[in-house]
Subunit: 135 residues, 4 copies
């Protein structure tokens, strides 16, 4: 992916573990796309009334991931509290969305895929949180 190469070309190289940072940004992108798609697929299901909470949390998760990948991806003069709180917000949104999507994973394949992607992004956020906490 170009993101990985691009982050390596920044004039001020990040002090964060680059591999962990790139993985988190990529997973945020993938998760934002997946949750946008799952919310849309849920809307078209016959049992949409059972999926209202899932749609809501997918929309939240897509918005949180979209903000996180922008704010965490910037390496010029970063502001650690903004980055850390943005990461926590993304983590909370991924976890809530994964929990809800898992409840529908048996009968809706898009929820199963979305749950998996949210869990992956949740772990990538946890790894980046650990990396940012290291001196």
């Amino acid at each position: 992916m170009t993101v990985r190469e691009l982050i390596e070309t920044h004039p001020h190289p990040t002090s964060t573990d680059r591999e962990v940072l790139v993985r988190c940004i990529e997973d945020c992108f993938e998760c934002a796309a997946t949750c946008t798609g799952c919310a849309d697929a849920c809307l078209a299901e016959d049992d949409v009334r059972e999926l209202v909470r899932c749609i809501r949390l997918c929309l939240d998760c897509a918005d949180a991931c979209a903000a996180a990948m922008r704010i965490l991806g910037r390496q010029t003069d970063p502001h650690p509290p903004t980055q850390l709180n943005t990461l926590e917000a993304c983590l909370a949104a991924c976890r809530a969305c994964a929990d809800e999507c898992e409840r529908h994973a048996d009968h809706h394949e898009h929820c199963r895929l979305s749950a998996e992607e949210c869990r992956r992004c949740e772990r990538a956020c946890e790894d980046l949180r650990s990396a940012l906490a290291r001196p």
Copy 2:
């Protein structure tokens, strides 16, 4: 503003102090627009090299406010940890951006306006945080 009226028409009325919620959403909108504009005006200044940190924090603040107004504005099945962490991220971004814009407020009117708006949004976020913490 329509946002205020619209929030009153939601079938599940919010349990949060509505006045505080509406003010926070409106300030997030205004702050996102102002920071997008300040980053752009900074880019066109002759001393853009002195404004790099200001541009970066304005871009962060616009992204954090845009995510916050969407996630906080939704009243259907909200997830409190996602909302609270999103609010904290927005608060941190507003504070950092206000601090930096204030440093340039004497010589750039757009930085003065942006600093004022970021402080207003920071206070609205603090008020909403207090309101969300109440049972």
Copy 3:
């Protein structure tokens, strides 16, 4: 609103009719917020299955308005074809969303409010399109 003042402080003043530009940016903001709120309120209605198209078009309209207010608001080195096409996309999204919201305006107050706001934004986009076309 701060946006109006901020646009006046830009080092490179816009060649576009400033009043028309500011109104369009403000309406895009208001419309993005209103459509985000209407989609969310629709989700919580008992007849959500009748509102699926309305939700979808509200989500589109919020996304189109959010992109438009950023891209149109930037005054540094603008690229006319990008601005014009972004405006057309916003206009199409507002029109489609207004048409659909009007169909539900009798029984859902949030749809009535959203339809009104989309029509207002549609007109502001048309006015800006005329202004941009003038030499």
Copy 4:
């Protein structure tokens, strides 16, 4: 990528050539990330004053791609004029950004990468435009 699988699980399968649609959504994501990163890297360069137009067009392109991947990715009750105009806006933004990034590709590796990604996304948008025009 999960996006591809997810689009296949939608209850209302798209009438558009699925391969072309998925490629466009994926390229919009990649391009949004790359342009966000290139704008940020440009900000940190010593010759930032020469890169002002590049930064502006990268910010536009990231916003246009982010809106496009959301609006084009939704398959529930799509509105063709909104989708087509959104695609045109994305195409115009990618082309303008590629043209400008290419001017700096010799001395900034991030501009070279960003130019390549913008061209790839431009072509994916053209292919989707052709596919949408087919009956």
